[in-house]
């Protein structure tokens, strides 16, 4: 076992640290710590600042405009970003569709779309889930029928996150009916200004507009916008499993921010003159939380180190997703608990009255955290995946 960073990595860390030493606006802090996404314009500004520095795509190869960083450097980068209260980069373009485009897409698609992802000129949303195809995505019903040089799409998508903001959407649609449901599904890139797309906001329990229903009504998408081959869209997602691991892994690094949020809230609040953070009961809870975060961070580092060493991390990615959502929930709940009675003060009813310092974000983070164990493969699905793929247990 060797746990020392080599000198070049140490120098890189200094470089990253310097970058983050300036530039993260303080007004982002509470939202970032609560695990909430910043406003699109803020995320775009952040992404542009990274792109300007050449760091817009930490996980991409150099040839597509990425940094070409080793997994260890990615880890260092995210650790420093987290320490500086920087947000996680918005991932739908960078991690979900970008890598599919540069792996399977035509040269034309690469040329057209990759730069816009890195410099945040385009904002991508995902058109996968449907009202009756959530965890069971293979049962999707949206159809893409070929007519001349276009596919004509009809159907309904659910949970289209940031569809109201996006300039583009990557959509899974059925281009043929095959005996195996996973077949005959194609992946198309769609301009959100195309006629026939209707976005309807979905109100969610965190009172933040981030997701939508998307209705596709004779939406014409040029055949050139097909990624890879027709009917193989399902596979493209699967092949990128390794990358997806990195995505959750990187998000998990940001849990140290939640620890800071809790710590500050519990330092600010006193009971009988004693800061909550000094009360043995709270102290023990926060320590427990920090320790579990340490375990997860170290699992992340292990995935990174394994990747660097070319070792297969097995189901560690699913495990990180599982534990990350549990700890997002536990951490924000602890934070909200630290606010005491004022956790009931979520929104002012009159002008001119300030909310408690952390509100509404701490509470919004706690509410938002409930969906982290649902999206991206629910915790139950993650369990199934680990049981079946890694442990070889059959239904």
């Amino acid at each position: 076992m060797e746990f020392e960073l080599d000198p070049a990595d140490l120098a890189f860390r200094e470089e990253v640290r310097d970058f983050f030493a300036t530039g993260i606006p303080p007004e982002w802090r509470t939202r970032v710590r609560a695990g909430l996404r910043l406003h699109p314009e803020e995320l775009i500004a952040y992404q542009k600042s990274l792109a300007e520095r050449g760091w817009g795509a930490p996980t991409w190869p150099v040839e597509y405009g990425g940094t070409g960083w080793s997994p260890i450097r990615q880890y260092i980068f995210w650790t420093e970003a987290a320490a500086a209260d920087a947000p996680a980069q918005f991932h739908q373009g960078l991690e979900l569709i970008g890598p599919i485009i540069f792996t399977y897409g035509s040269q034309a698609l690469k040329d057209r779309y990759l730069p816009g992802i890195i410099n945040a000129d385009d904002w991508w949303c995902q058109g996968y889930s449907e009202p009756n195809a959530g965890s069971d995505l293979a049962s999707l019903r949206t159809r893409a029928v070929r007519e001349g040089d276009d596919y004509v799409l009809n159907g309904q998508k659910a949970w289209t996150s940031y569809g109201h903001v996006a300039s583009h959407c990557f959509v899974l649609a059925r281009t043929s009916d095959e005996p195996k449901r996973q077949q005959g599904i194609s992946l198309l890139l769609m301009d959100m200004k195309t006629p026939g797309i209707t976005i309807r906001p979905v109100a969610t329990m965190d009172e933040k507009h981030h997701t939508n229903e998307m209705f596709l009504d004779d939406v014409r998408v040029p055949v050139a916008q097909l990624v890879g081959e027709e009917g193989r869209g399902w596979e493209y997602g699967k092949v990128l499993l390794d990358r997806e691991r990195m995505v959750t892994a990187s998000v998990a690094i940001f849990l140290v921010q939640t620890v800071k949020g809790i710590r500050e809230a519990a330092t600010r609040r006193t009971i009988g003159g004693v800061p909550l953070i000094d009360k043995p009961g709270f102290k023990a809870k926060l320590a427990q939380y920090e320790i579990e975060v340490i375990a997860l961070q170290t699992m992340v580092l292990k995935v990174m180190a394994d990747a660097a060493a070319g070792v297969d991390s097995g189901p560690l990615g699913s495990m990180i997703k599982l534990r990350w959502s549990q700890l997002s929930q536990a951490g924000t709940a602890l934070w909200v608990g630290a606010l005491g009675p004022q956790a009931a003060h979520f929104a002012p009813l009159d002008n001119g009255y300030a909310l408690p310092a952390d509100m509404p974000y701490a509470m919004q983070g706690a509410l938002y955290a409930r969906v982290t164990s649902i999206y991206g493969g629910s915790s139950e699905i993650q369990h199934n995946i680990i049981a079946q793929r890694a442990l070889g247990l059959k239904g």
Binding site: G134, G272, G340, H345, L349, Y353
Partner: protein, 369 residues
């Protein structure tokens, strides 16, 4: 010994359930809540008409003298349909505190009972946690009246109150159990700053700053703490029953969803893991209901045992309620997280009920004391 409601109590529960379905069906509820007090005006008037606003008020104060079982039937009914509104603050807590004032307060209590007036108790202070005896607000005699100075961090359901009941020190130091008196303060009185906030469950609360505010002493000077603690324990009973009603309702909704929602070509309720989760939710509901019974059993053993039982119930129902709400959302998946189903609203209400009048941690230490 009987653990079920009497016929009369069952009838009350039944009419509360019908009331909830009629006035706050899931499709309407959210819209009404967003209108604030006006959205609840019609239902409040109806409650007044039904006599429910009078129900928890003692007979000697002109109320119907409902006991804990009646409060629980009401609370359970409210919880099942997530009926909003300041019922517990105005009709359970406030009248119990005003009763300390004897017939001097009967007019105000009557106005509560008719629904004309809303009164809320301003009990918690910054730096006090959920401790009811932690009172730094001071009252002093100024000529022929009292003036109050201090601040209240959170007034449960105080957002629409016409009057506040304000505990303040007429003696002793901040954390003393003696020297606390109760004052009635009009919401519009000079020197009072009322900041109003909405919770995630739509309840409207307040935060007060009192700067030389005129207050009217309620009852005798000093030694109000016992009355406050008893009144809060009683209010908690209604809240606890509300939590149980909500848990059972959202469990039933979830069970139905498991039976009917299909994924991977079969009802999701056929997956063993989801079955067992549903069982754990059901067990949590039973535990929570048992804690209500435990409170009822404690009544014969005096106020101290009653309050200890309420603390025990606040711990376990608080935990079980939030657990059930969380799992209901989880088992519903994405739609559970949406605002459109009632499911997430149950979770939000459970989260707020779990900290209303004392968090789980607070009550665990009270129980242990």
């Amino acid at each position: 010994m009987r653990f079920t409601y009497s016929d009369e109590q069952a009838m009350l529960l039944d009419s509360v359930l019908r009331f909830g379905q009629e006035h706050f069906p899931p499709t309407e509820r959210h819209r009404l809540i967003q209108q604030g007090r006006s959205g609840e005006a019609a239902s409040w008037a109806k409650m007044a008409e039904l006599g429910w606003l009078l129900l928890p008020i003692a007979e000697e104060c002109g109320g119907l003298g409902g006991g804990i079982a009646e409060l629980m039937a009401l609370g359970e009914g409210f919880g099942r349909n997530l009926v909003p509104g300041p019922y517990v603050a105005a009709c359970v807590l406030a009248p119990a505190l005003l009763a300390r004032g004897g017939d001097g307060q009967y007019d105000l209590i009557e106005q509560i009972g008719t629904g004309e007036t809303l009164v809320a108790a301003a009990l918690l202070e910054d730096d006090g946690g959920y401790d009811l005896h932690h009172i730094a607000t001071r009252a002093a005699v100024a000529g022929d009246h009292w003036t109050l100075d201090g601040a209240k961090a959170h007034v449960e359901d105080g957002g629409d109150a016409d009057w506040f009941i304000v505990p303040a020190r007429t003696g002793g130091e901040t954390a003393d159990r003696t020297g606390i008196s109760l004052f009635l303060v009009a919401a519009t009185v000079p020197g009072l700053r009322v900041e109003r906030f909405r919770g995630i469950d739509g309840h409207r609360h307040a935060r007060l700053e009192l700067d030389g505010v005129a207050g009217q002493l309620i009852g005798a000077e000093g030694n109000a703490l016992a009355d406050i603690e008893a009144a809060v324990a009683r209010a908690n009973c209604a809240y606890l029953a509300e939590a149980v009603g909500s848990m059972e309702a959202v469990s039933a909704i979830t069970l139905e969803y498991l039976r009917t929602r299909e994924q991977f070509g079969r009802p999701i309720g056929s997956f063993q893991v989801l079955q067992h989760r549903m069982v754990d939710m059901t067990v949590a509901c039973e535990e929570a209901r048992a804690m209500l019974c435990h409170i009822a059993l404690s009544l014969a053993q005096g106020q101290a045992q009653f309050q200890r039982a309420v603390s025990a119930a606040k711990v376990r129902i608080g935990e079980c309620g939030v657990y059930v709400g969380q799992q209901a959302v989880q088992l519903h998946g994405g739609v559970g997280f949406s605002d459109e189903l009632i499911v997430s609203h149950h979770l939000k209400r459970q989260m707020m009920l779990a900290i209303a009048h004392g968090s789980v941690d607070h009550h665990r230490m009270r129980f242990a004391a």
